[in-house]
């Protein structure tokens, strides 16, 4: 047992910190630090900076840009990005479709897609959920029927995050409707969103923003060489993809950054000269949250430090469950610190209401998604109960 980083890892951490705080523009990092919405351009620009430095897809196979780091190093890389306010590499590219293509794709697919995916020359989105297949993903109904050298896709996906900014989609489609189990007969298909027959409809969310989309397919023709791996094995690839990530599952760095911000806000003088942090009750709430976050960070470090293989780990469910709870707790704290200033949502720059207070409720509302998307907290509890506790 050893808490300290090895000399090598400590140097690695320092390198990361230096890179992220000097090579990614301050203006970009301020957007995250101040909780403002990211633009497509900023995400692309940042991922390209990272990719150029070999920091966009370190967990990929070395020949496609991977670095052969330990899980702990990847953890450090991720946390330092978060703490520095760096927009992290687009998950759809770096953590989802990239690893699937690298693992299961043909050599041609790898050459065609991986470099462009790492450099965000192609922006991918995920076509998994459907209106009647959310938590119960295997019930999906979008079909692909073979017609000569093409697949013809019909159906509808939903909750497609940032689909409005995407170039391509990786999509689960049913290719064998007669398979005995609903998990069988599903394939993993890649296609261009500008293909005829694709319609992307952004869904407005309760915070007033747009993040997710409905995507409709009407006789979309997809070349057969864009099917990844074997026909009807798509469920296995999806499971690989969903269980692939053990780093960054709990957004510790991002939540810590937000808690730091909250502390600074609570130290800003009020109109009567007092500070909110001087209230013992608020200070206690901070101390409690800080400690819960520390316990989570240590747990994430345990998971990261003690595993070198890439297999899915049910411990990820703890990180996801607890990580989103604390993420939400901190957004809630910021609303409470804002008080009635939180009503001044649209006040803008001319107002004496600080801009973080203006954004506090939309951010709070937006993060209600955290415990729903990517496997709801109910699903995580079910995984813990069954996979870990054997219940």
């Amino acid at each position: 047992m050893r808490l300290r980083l090895s000399a090598e890892d400590a140097a690695f951490q320092q390198d990361m910190r230096t890179f992220f705080t000097t090579q990614v523009p301050q203006e970009t990092r301020d957007v995250i630090a101040h909780g403002k919405p990211l633009t497509r351009e900023l995400i692309v620009e940042t991922m390209q900076i990272l990719n150029k430095a070999g920091l966009a897809v370190p967990h990929w196979p070395i020949e496609w840009g991977g670095r052969g780091w330990t899980t702990l190093q990847r953890h450090i890389w991720h946390e330092e990005m978060d703490l520095a306010g760096v927009p992290t590499p687009l998950a759809f590219n770096a953590s989802m479709v990239g690893p699937v293509i690298a693992q299961f794709g043909s050599h041609e697919q790898k050459q065609r897609f991986l470099p462009a995916t790492a450099n965000l020359d192609i922006w991918w989105c995920q076509g998994f959920s459907e209106p009647d297949a959310g938590s119960d993903l295997a019930s999906l109904r979008t079909t692909a029927v073979r017609d000569g050298n093409e697949w013809v896709v019909n159906g509808q996906k939903t909750w497609t995050t940032l689909g409005q900014w995407a170039d391509w989609i990786f999509c689960l489609v049913r290719t064998d409707p007669d398979a005995p189990k609903k998990q069988q007969g599903i394939s993993f298909l890649l296609f261009d969103l500008t293909s005829p027959g694709v319609t992307v409809r952004p869904i407005k969310l309760i915070d007033g923003g747009y993040e997710v989309n409905e995507v409709f397919f009407e006789n979309v023709r997809v070349p057969a060489d864009q099917l990844v791996g074997e026909e009807n094995r798509g469920w296995d690839y999806a499971k690989f993809l969903l269980g692939n990530e053990r780093v960054g599952v709990a957004p510790v760095g991002a939540t810590k950054l937000r808690l730091r911000t909250a502390r600074e806000r609570a130290l800003e003088p009020m109109a009567d000269g007092s500070t909110l942090l001087a209230d013992p009750l608020l200070a206690a709430r901070f101390a409690e949250l800080e400690n819960e976050l520390a316990a989570l960070e240590l747990t994430a470090l345990r998971v990261a430090a003690d595993s070198s293989d890439g297999r899915p780990d049910p411990a990820s469910s703890i990180l996801k469950l607890r990580g989103t709870q604390l993420q939400q707790d901190v957004t809630e704290l910021l609303v409470d610190i804002a008080g009635h200033d939180s009503l001044a949502t649209g006040a803008g720059e001319d107002s004496d209401v600080p801009s973080w207070a203006q954004r506090s409720v939309p951010t709070y509302l937006n993060y209600r998604k955290a415990s729903i998307y990517g496997g709801s907290n109910e699903i995580q509890r079910t995984i813990i109960a069954s996979s870990i506790l054997g219940l």
Binding site: W159, K204, L205, V212
Partner: protein, 369 residues
């Protein structure tokens, strides 16, 4: 002791509920529907709590609660609590006879919309003004400073403004169309309108014959808080109904969500929260109606309602899943609005602090006396 509505109260509830069914689109730059405001006036709802000699109905806090609850059920954006209960209540309590006659009558008829401009940035919910100052000149009073966020401040036809006179906070009446008043309006997160109002040597008249002391704010806040809590109660009722309906109809893994005990038990906990909120709201209204002299009543009500609102608002979205996050579906709007209500007129922390203060000097509360 009785917790049931009489026939007239039920008739009022049904009438308001019926009226609210026929709503036009709300003009985005207004934040509420002026046509609905007029209809509410015609029904007598806007003059409900005021005495008959100023054009009111002479009804009481129970009736106000009934109306607010109905407004809350449909997330009505009309400024009932802000204009009728709070601003109207202040005028009724502290206004001069002339102010009663002019302002309240016009309010009851839907022709005037008084609004209190009290909040300032970076303050909590007390009764003090900080950066807004009133000066007595030979031509009368003038006011300087900025109020923000002022809910419905842009559509207000009359502003009641809290301002410092020396170290005391006093109340004034300001015509927002007069020179020296600048209003910048924008949207709240729950889609209503709110304003930053800057006063530059703006002409003001005292509320009352001499400007009323900020102590009148305390009672008015108490009344408005209980009405706001009734509005939140209505919203929570529908949020739970909607969630229960969703659990019954939405299928996952081939069965309705209502087959998942982890979800239904959480719905049961939401119901407990709702009923506790209902109990304190009715208690608060009855205390007002009967002149109970415990100044902490509004804090008791708001603390419980804030807890219930956060619990129900958060769980309602979570039990809906992704659809609960969408603007298209109603449930998120309920959570959104409940969040706004939580942070209006004092949040849970503010009211808990009031209740905690002096616990060493008083006994645990005995509601039955």
């Amino acid at each position: 002791m009785e917790f049931t509505f009489d026939t007239e109260q039920i008739a009022l509830r049904d009438a308001v509920r019926g009226l609210l069914r026929s709503r036009d689109d709300v003009p985005a730059d207004q934040g509420f529907d002026p046509a609905m405001w007029t209809k509410l006036a015609a029904m007598g709802v806007l003059g409900l709590p005021f005495s008959e000699d100023v054009g009111g109905m002479g009804a009481g806090p129970i009736e106000v609660m009934i109306v607010a609850q109905e407004l809350g059920r449909v997330l009505a954006p009309e400024p009932y609590v802000d204009s009728v209960v709070l601003a109207g209540g202040l005028i009724a309590a502290a206004g001069s006879d002339e102010q009663h006659a002019t302002l309240l009558a016009a309010l009851a008829e839907g022709e005037s919309q008084p609004i209190l401009a009290h909040a300032e940035p970076r303050t909590r919910w007390g009764t003090d003004a900080y950066g807004v100052v009133a000066t007595s000149t030979t031509d009368g009073w003038t006011i300087d400073g900025t109020k923000e966020p002022v809910l419905y401040g842009d559509s207000a036809t009359v502003l009641l403004v809290s301002a410092l006179v020396g170290e005391q906070t006093k109340l004034f009446v300001v015509d927002p169309d007069e020179p020296g008043v600048t209003r910048t309006a924008y949207a709240t997160h729950d889609g209503r309108r709110v304003a930053r109002i800057t006063f530059t040597k703006a002409a003001a008249t005292p509320l009352g014959d001499a400007p009323a002391d900020s102590s009148v704010l305390k009672d008015a806040f108490a009344q408005a808080t209980i009405a706001l809590c009734a509005e939140a109660l209505g919203a929570m009722e529908v949020a739970l109904d909607t969630t229960v309906g969703y659990l019954k109809t939405r299928k996952q893994f081939g069965v309705p969500l209502s087959k998942f005990q982890a979800l239904t038990h959480r719905a049961a906990d939401m119901y407990v929260s709702l009923e506790l909120a209902r109990s304190v709201v009715q208690y608060g209204a009855m205390c007002l109606a009967e002149g109970v002299e415990d100044p902490l009543v509004a804090s008791r009500v708001k603390l419980q309602v804030s807890r219930s609102a956060r619990h129900i608002g958060q769980e309602a979205i979570q039990l809906h899943g992704g659809i609960g996050m969408t603007d298209e579906y109603t449930i998120g709007h309920y959570t959104n609005r409940l969040t706004a209500m939580e942070h209006s007129l004092g949040d849970a922390t503010f009211h808990r602090a009031r209740l905690a203060q002096g616990l060493d000097q008083r006994e645990i509360v005995d509601l039955l006396g």
